[in-house]
């Protein structure tokens, strides 16, 4: 099969699942089998694209002009490839987890749940492989619309309100800021194709450039840069598998992925470094990074705390993009992968605790480690990865971001990274410590606490993602080498610099 066919398959395969799922409404097992099969086939497809891509093939579809200058087209570049790999691997794990979670929670309307999930994955693939801004925007909006029903899934007052905030914030920012930015880019640059070195370079003056960047940075609401982050805590009313895959991986990563794409292929990092148009965004991202961590400290609801942690971790990626040095961009790319593995583990654990003990508040979780040792063990691993400690994947992204900050002449960012790591230790580790070291309030000291883990499907998924966090520590070099092949459109000297840094470490 040719590469372009595979690209189209990766987008249409989940859509096919969307059509098949309602046909098996009455037969739950077959319905779930459809989701799992689609997930496995999608991974096979993405891996074969990856094999072709590493073999040096250029993979692109022919473009279809929707309007003059607005083509619908897909191709493969390193960052998108990684994003697609992450999303498709985690979809399998998450589907497994969903089955355990949704059934033991006895959730209503599971058929539309799995349908929307499949549409969301299809649009994630579309975002990952989009070869121009218009195609990316199309799938970006579909992703918002397909995840809205998942957020409001519970259909009670709280879920409906959460859904409202989610829809209005995400559609609002994308329509009010992102779309005008795209239109202005199209009129000024005459094209929307992603090109190494950027399409805006040398076409607009510095002020307009900075303003456009602002439209993009806040218009891409999914990246949750403060103050457009409110939708993310609101989205936590969704069932936990949704929070895990979509609001820790697919949706938010689609946001920061778009930010990186725009910075690298629309603005061009050399263009940004020269004009300094992204300097202000460094401060905004640093602010967002610290503030969200502090807010996370104050949240007692576990999912809410994780949501603010996500806001903070996403700011790392935006920070890397704003630094606009090639090392920082590599750090951002790594952060997308590392945070995905770490945060999905944490959400899986939160969901498992909810299923097994019906507890949602951290203050109720004292001694939970004795009841659910596997879950809390995984929680520890995920936490350490988020904090950025070896031997877990999270350490590398922080490392590269630090190197990138020094490259870009923002040494103070290193201090910000340190403080933020300390803060994340402060909001994550007490949960584990209280969980393991204290005994549950309902049992007398010295009593044997009965182990009550979540359903097997959930526990297995948790172990897989926790294992992934460890593997990524050792596999980071491999991820970096893929990211370093990104075409930044700058002189070979700078590219050699990254190569040198990579080998020198």
């Amino acid at each position: 099969m040719s590469g372009s066919d595979l690209l189209l398959i990766s987008i249409f395969l989940p859509l096919l699942a969307t059509l098949l799922i309602p046909m098996f409404d009455k037969w739950q097992n077959i319905r779930e089998a459809v989701t799992l099969t689609a997930a496995v086939l999608l991974l096979v497809t993405v891996v074969s694209i990856f094999a072709k891509f590493t073999a040096g093939e250029t993979i692109e579809t022919s473009s279809f002009e929707v309007l003059p200058g607005l083509p619908l087209a897909f191709d493969v570049e390193p960052l998108g490839m990684l994003f697609a790999l992450v999303a498709s691997v985690l979809w399998i794990v998450n589907s497994l987890y969903s089955i355990g979670y949704m059934r033991s929670h006895d959730e209503p309307r599971q058929t539309p749940f799995y349908m929307c999930f499949a549409v969301a994955l299809s649009s994630t693939m579309g975002i990952a492989f989009a070869s121009n801004l218009f195609t990316l925007f199309l799938f970006y909006e579909i992703l918002t619309l397909s995840t809205y029903p998942l957020v409001a899934h519970k259909a009670d007052e709280k879920a409906i309100n959460g859904g409202r905030i989610y829809l209005i914030m995400l559609l609002g920012t994308s329509m009010l800021l992102l779309l005008p930015a795209i239109i202005i880019t199209a009129v000024i640059a005459g094209t929307l194709d992603f090109a190494p070195g950027g399409i805006l370079a040398g076409k607009v003056d510095d002020t307009v450039l900075a303003l456009l960047l602002a439209l993009y940075a806040f218009g891409i609401g999914k990246a949750a840069v403060m103050p457009v982050h409110f939708w993310l805590p609101a989205a936590m009313v969704a069932p936990t598998p949704v929070s895990a895959l979509l609001h820790a991986v697919a949706v938010v990563k689609a946001g920061v992925f778009t930010v990186i794409k725009v910075v690298v292929y629309v603005f061009g990092i050399e263009n940004l470094t020269k004009t300094g148009a992204s300097d202000w965004l460094v401060f905004v991202a640093a602010f967002s990074l610290i503030t969200a961590s502090i807010v996370a400290l104050t949240r007692d609801n576990l999912k809410a705390r994780l949501a603010y942690s996500t806001v903070s971790q996403l700011a790392y990626v935006v920070l890397g993009a704003a630094l606009a040095s090639s090392a920082a961009i590599v750090g951002s790319g790594l952060q997308i992968v590392m945070h995905a593995a770490g945060k999905i583990t944490l959400f899986f654990c939160a969901g498992a605790i909810m299923v097994a003990t019906h507890k949602t508040e951290i203050s109720e979780m004292v001694g939970i480690g004795r009841r659910m040792p596997i879950t809390m063990g995984a929680f520890l691993i995920g936490s350490l990865s988020i904090i950025g400690l070896p031997p877990l994947g999270g350490v590398w992204s922080k490392w590269w971001l630090g190197v990138g900050a020094i490259d870009a002449g923002h040494e103070w960012i290193v201090a910000v990274l340190m403080i933020s790591s300390l803060l994340s230790a402060a909001y994550l580790l007490p949960i584990v410590a209280w969980g393991f070291l204290m005994s549950p309030p309902e049992s007398k000291p010295g009593d044997r606490v009965e182990v009550t883990e979540a359903p097997l499907a959930c526990v297995v998924s948790i172990c897989i993602t926790a294992g992934l966090c460890v593997m990524l520590f050792f596999g980071a070099n491999w991820v970096e080498s893929k990211l370093a092949t990104m075409d930044f459109g700058i002189q070979s000297g700078a590219t050699a610099l990254i190569e040198g840094e990579r080998h020198g470490r």
Partner: protein, 492 residues
């Protein structure tokens, strides 16, 4: 045969309406209307083909040569409008049988179809004729038929709505005649092409400007330009479902065509937009419509009425495109005529199906309807996404053109205004979606299910169209931008 196509376009529905009036049974009248509608569609497709292949068609009615006889003149712009009107008519006819069957008393059904066909004839006539007075005749034919159709609504308030529309519509028609009369006194001609040719040598600009003013106001009443829209919400809300679908998708669109025709082909963009502040006035009214009507729509309890206000807002988009008077803007306006027609048809058809099942479209009665009538309400959602302007739907295409046009004119604030007003659409559509899918069904809704295929199919066709033409735009945006280039020729 091929040369007689322009005449057939209006003669077929006219004759069919005559026969319909003598039918005893509604079903027979429906079958006759169905055949006539499809025949009309075939004719309009053939005309469009001919225009695209060999340029504008001029047809002398009864063999009387223009400018003295009545000339039917078809270029790309009105061939497009003809296709739109006849296409909508043909696609929605299968829906009519059950919908009209339940909403209108069986003895009156043949008359209803008579009125529908007359209205179709009038609208096609306005679009096809190149004679100013003939336009007036067709305008009255379609309007009178519309009043009657609206008055046949089940609700008692339908009578009042029809009466209100009658008064306002008549004022509009009178203004139109006065405008035409003034044009006649300065040029001595009623043929649009002929008038346009003579205007350069007209010295009496005061009469000309007065004529333009009367025509603009008269036509604006018909197309429901804010603040001349007051008749529209009541008429749409209380008319029978089928009539609402047809009128919302076609009637205002034809009036907009007429405005474009007078502005660009007759008076010329130079006079209208460069010597007079028409652009500024139209721009402000359009923006007020986009905001005002959308905000009012948010607070409506009756969903048909909500969509009626949404129509007023969407018409604002189209007139905004006219006011921008550049290539992108006008293309956006013209393509939105088509795009808005298909999404509103889908909307009102879905509501018609809901009304057929539960006998109400009040928001309180729609709780959980999405779970009971999933396909119908998916249609509503897709139409909703179009009206919001989600990429991949027709609404996005219109919005892209309009925003690009505004940006080119240097009116960047308009870009944001367009976006904010579509965000208002998110609110009024989202409100219905929330109730329909996230509330538990009760009462009549419990028993509801999707309507039979004949009613479902038209909904699906319009939904498919609103996605298809959002991706493949060669037909819609292609023709619209060609027509815009042609119309703007006068500016350069």
């Amino acid at each position: 045969m091929m040369t007689q196509l322009p005449a057939l376009q209006v003669v077929i529905p006219l004759l069919a309406s005559l026969f319909c009036a003598f039918m005893k049974r509604g079903t027979v009248a429906w079958a006759l209307s169905l055949v006539a509608s499809w025949a009309v569609l075939v004719v309009s497709i053939l005309i469009l083909q001919q225009v695209l292949e060999s340029g504008p068609i001029s047809y002398a009615m009864g063999g009387w040569e223009p400018p003295f006889g009545i000339e039917y003149y078809v270029d790309k712009l009105n061939a497009f409008v003809l296709l739109l009107v006849s296409g909508v008519g043909a696609i929605i006819m299968p829906f009519a049988k059950r919908s009209v069957g339940t909403e209108i008393h069986s003895t009156r059904q043949p008359y209803f179809y008579t009125m529908y066909l007359l209205c179709l004839c009038g609208l096609l006539g306005i679009a096809i004729t190149g004679d100013a007075f003939n336009i007036f005749v067709f305008l009255e034919v379609s309007s009178l038929a519309t009043y009657a159709m609206v008055a046949m609504g089940k609700d008692k308030r339908a009578l009042l709505a029809a009466f209100q529309y009658l008064i306002i519509g008549t004022i509009g028609a009178t203004f139109y005649v006065i405008g035409t009369g003034l044009l006649y006194t300065v040029t001595g001609s009623l043929n649009l092409v002929d008038i346009a040719g003579q205007l350069d040598s007209v010295n009496n600009t005061r009469a000309l400007v007065t004529s333009l003013a009367f025509l603009t106001v008269g036509i604006s009443l018909k197309l429901a330009l804010f603040p001349l829209h007051v008749w529209l919400p009541n008429a749409y809300a209380y008319a029978p479902s089928f009539a609402t679908v047809f009128l919302a998708a076609t009637a205002t669109k034809v009036a907009i065509y007429l405005l474009i025709r007078f502005f660009f082909s007759v008076f010329g963009a130079g006079l209208v937009f460069q010597s007079l502040p028409v652009s500024e006035i139209l721009l402000i009214l359009s923006v007020v419509a986009m905001f005002g009507a959308s905000i009012v729509a948010i607070f409506q309890e009756d969903i048909k009425r909500m969509l009626a206000y949404s129509s007023v807002a969407q018409i604002g988009y189209i007139t905004l495109g006219i006011a921008l008077a550049n290539s992108n803007g006008l293309s956006g306006g013209i393509v939105h005529i088509f795009n808005h027609a298909i999404m509103k048809a889908a909307f009102f058809l879905a509501l018609g199906a809901v009304f057929y099942r539960i006998g109400s479209v009040h928001i309180d009665h729609l709780a959980g309807i999405g779970r009971r009538m999933p396909i119908t309400m998916m249609g509503f959602v897709i139409a909703g996404m179009s009206i919001v302007g989600v990429p991949g739907t027709v609404g996005f295409i219109s919005k892209w053109y309009l925003a690009a046009g505004a940006f080119e004119n240097g009116q960047w604030w308009l870009v944001f205004a367009i976006m904010i007003s579509s965000l208002l659409a998110v609110i009024y559509v989202g409100r219905v979606v929330e109730v329909a899918w996230f509330r538990d069904p009760s009462g009549a809704t419990l028993e509801a299910r999707d309507p039979p295929p004949a009613m479902l199919l038209p909904i699906l066709i319009f939904c498919a169209a609103s996605i298809y033409f959002g991706i493949d735009t060669t037909l819609t945006a292609g023709i619209a931008s060609q027509a815009a280039e042609l119309l703007l020729g006068g500016l350069r």
